[in-house]
């Protein structure tokens, strides 16, 4: 008879963020012996340092901005101001209220053993946490990703900010250079600009938000520039950063010419790198600096080790990590293997106007040589645009030749809510005609969806 090995746990989850928490909870509810290890604060990056605090501040900032520009509606707002320490207190309240931030007790109440410390594989079935050895028959790696610090000369010699540390500053800086014009860079640019910071954005690509269709980046660049005074320096490369008195001097190369910009603070938001420094070599897990390699079932090359979330090196979001965690937990303990379905996965940027995308972008379709039809409905053709006096935005829908919706982008107020109609349509292979014939309420922003869909019907 084959020898049966015994382990301390049935499952050890490394990382308590969205990629790990669901799997740990599901396994514990199923009666498995589970441990969860967290190197920082329980709950991970999203509730403690990124999504929740940023969105709490953005909500307050947008309220302030709306009110400040209310004079066109007859509102008097000349005496309106803000108190930054109070705003920070509001942010902290939002983090505490989520219940997921620092939620060690939550796991313990479910019978999950919790450990704080860096996990390090010693062998395929054993890890070390603060010199304590733990073994398990299965592992889920959900360590997430951390902000990448680009190799820019002089950057290591100055005190720079990251999207995590900028939220802890005592007051908004007078001027700020953001290196990287991606999702987070844009959100922070708008946030800080509303509070009076002169913001510069350095982006290597030809437009902001380079991972989205060009219309979105170009529109946001115009909105940020015209309404918030943000200077976006696209097509540019940061050559060096150096200290200049109390300020920092950033040297940028653009079109062969060099330009220096003096700012109070530098924010590095140039993408994220998976956290793979956990002794994966000792476990024999294949990985690169770009992430851990997994199959369709989120299983690594070592069959009892799975991975989910940002550590995979894909464009990960909290909602996609939650789904992957659920899939991984199911695949670890069930014989029937399931595959995560990313088809209708939304991406949302909480600016004003908001940006939401789902499915394939036009660039994705071009890359895969897919024959498509597309239609754009500008916001200013719908009635709500008139009553809200808001014109910057559009809804773009992409279909295949049979009219089935492949992808969509919404740039509009409440884009995060509007997009889910299109997400549902994509998930269930609906056609633009079916969306267009669905009644959309007069004076809702979603009317733009109907207009765009009708153009493709």
């Amino acid at each position: 008879m084959a020898k049966k090995f015994t382990f301390d746990y049935d499952l050890i989850v490394i990382g308590s963020g969205p990629g790990g928490s669901v799997a740990a909870t599901m396994a514990a509810k199923d009666g498995k012996r589970v441990a969860i290890i967290e190197s920082s604060v329980f709950g991970g990056e999203s509730p403690n340092y990124s999504d929740i605090p940023t969105k709490a501040l953005l909500h307050a900032a947008n309220l302030f901005d709306e009110a400040r520009h209310g004079d066109r509606f007859g509102l008097r707002s000349s005496t309106l101001g803000y108190n930054y320490p109070s705003l920070r207190a509001w942010k902290e309240l939002a983090v505490t209220r989520t219940g997921t931030g620092g939620n060690r007790k939550y796991y313990e109440n479910q019978g999950i053993d919790t450990f704080i410390g860096l996990a390090h594989f010693l062998s395929p079935n054993e890890i070390s946490v603060n010199r304590r050895h733990l073994s398990a028959s299965n592992f889920l790696i959900a360590t997430g990703a951390t902000w990448t610090i680009p190799e820019i000369p002089g950057l290591d010699k100055i005190k720079y900010l990251t999207p995590r540390t900028i939220l802890e500053t005592l007051r908004p800086p007078k001027s700020l250079m953001i290196i990287g014009g991606g999702d987070t860079g844009i959100e922070i640019a708008q946030l800080m600009a509303i509070f009076g910071t002169k913001v510069y954005i350095a982006e290597q690509a030809s437009h902001l938000l380079p991972h989205h269709d060009s219309e979105i980046g170009e529109l946001m660049q115009r909105v940020l520039s015209e309404q918030k005074g943000v200077t976006a320096v696209t097509h540019s490369r940061v050559l060096s950063v150096e200290k200049d008195g109390l300020q920092k001097r950033v040297t940028i190369s653009r079109g062969g010419t060099e330009k220096s910009i003096k700012v109070d603070e530098v924010l590095v938001a140039a993408g994220r790198s998976p956290m793979v420094d956990l002794g994966l070599e000792n476990a024999g897990v294949k990985f690169t600096a770009n992430g851990i390699a997994v199959n369709d079932h989120l299983q690594t090359n070592v069959k009892h080790i799975y991975a989910a979330g940002g550590v995979l090196g894909r464009n990960s979001h909290t909602h996609s990590a939650l789904m992957e965690s659920q899939v991984a937990a199911s695949n670890i303990f069930d014989k029937t293997k399931v595959t995560p379905n990313y088809k209708a996965m939304t991406e949302i940027i909480f600016t004003n106007p908001g940006i939401a995308t789902v499915g394939l972008s036009e660039y994705d379709c071009l890359k895969h040589d897919l024959p498509i039809n597309k239609a754009i409905a500008p916001l200013n053709i719908i009635a709500r645009s008139n009553t809200s006096d808001f014109r910057d935005g559009f809804v773009k829908i992409i279909t295949d030749k049979n009219g089935i919706i492949l992808g969509a982008s919404v740039v509009a107020p409440h884009a995060a809510e509007i997009i889910h109609e299109l997400s549902l349509a994509i998930k269930h292979d609906m056609t633009a005609y079916q969306v267009a014939e669905t009644p959309h309420a007069f004076l809702s922003w979603s009317e733009a969806v109907r207009v765009a869909a009708a153009k493709l019907s």
């Binding site: 860096l118 390090h120 010693l122 002794g279 070599e281 000792n282």
Partner: protein
């Protein structure tokens, strides 16, 4: 500042020991000298590699000897790729 790191050797088949900087330094110097790096440069390379490994170890109280080899190789490769190759391949260097 004293660094207390346990090094698990050969997957636990041999007794664990405390991390010794001198031992790492000597092995890096020996590797560099094997690829005809001048002694002074070998000492300098070994010093910077040891510093990088120690910086990494600050966060890791318990590692395997393989981990140290991997991290040392990563930093050695920046300074001298040929020595790094030799160091990576020679399992008995440490």
């Amino acid at each position: 500042m004293t660094l207390s790191v346990d090094v698990i050797k050969r997957g636990g088949q041999r007794q664990s020991e405390q991390f010794m900087r001198d031992k790492l330094h000597t092995s890096i110097v020996a590797t560099c000298l094997s690829v005809r790096v001048p002694t002074g440069q070998a000492e300098s390379i070994a010093h910077s590699v040891c510093e990088a490994v120690i910086a990494w170890l600050q966060q890791h109280p318990e590692v395997t000897s393989q981990d140290i080899r991997i991290v040392a190789t990563k930093h050695l490769r920046i300074q001298h790729p040929e020595a790094a190759y030799l160091y990576e391949q020679n399992r008995i260097t440490i």
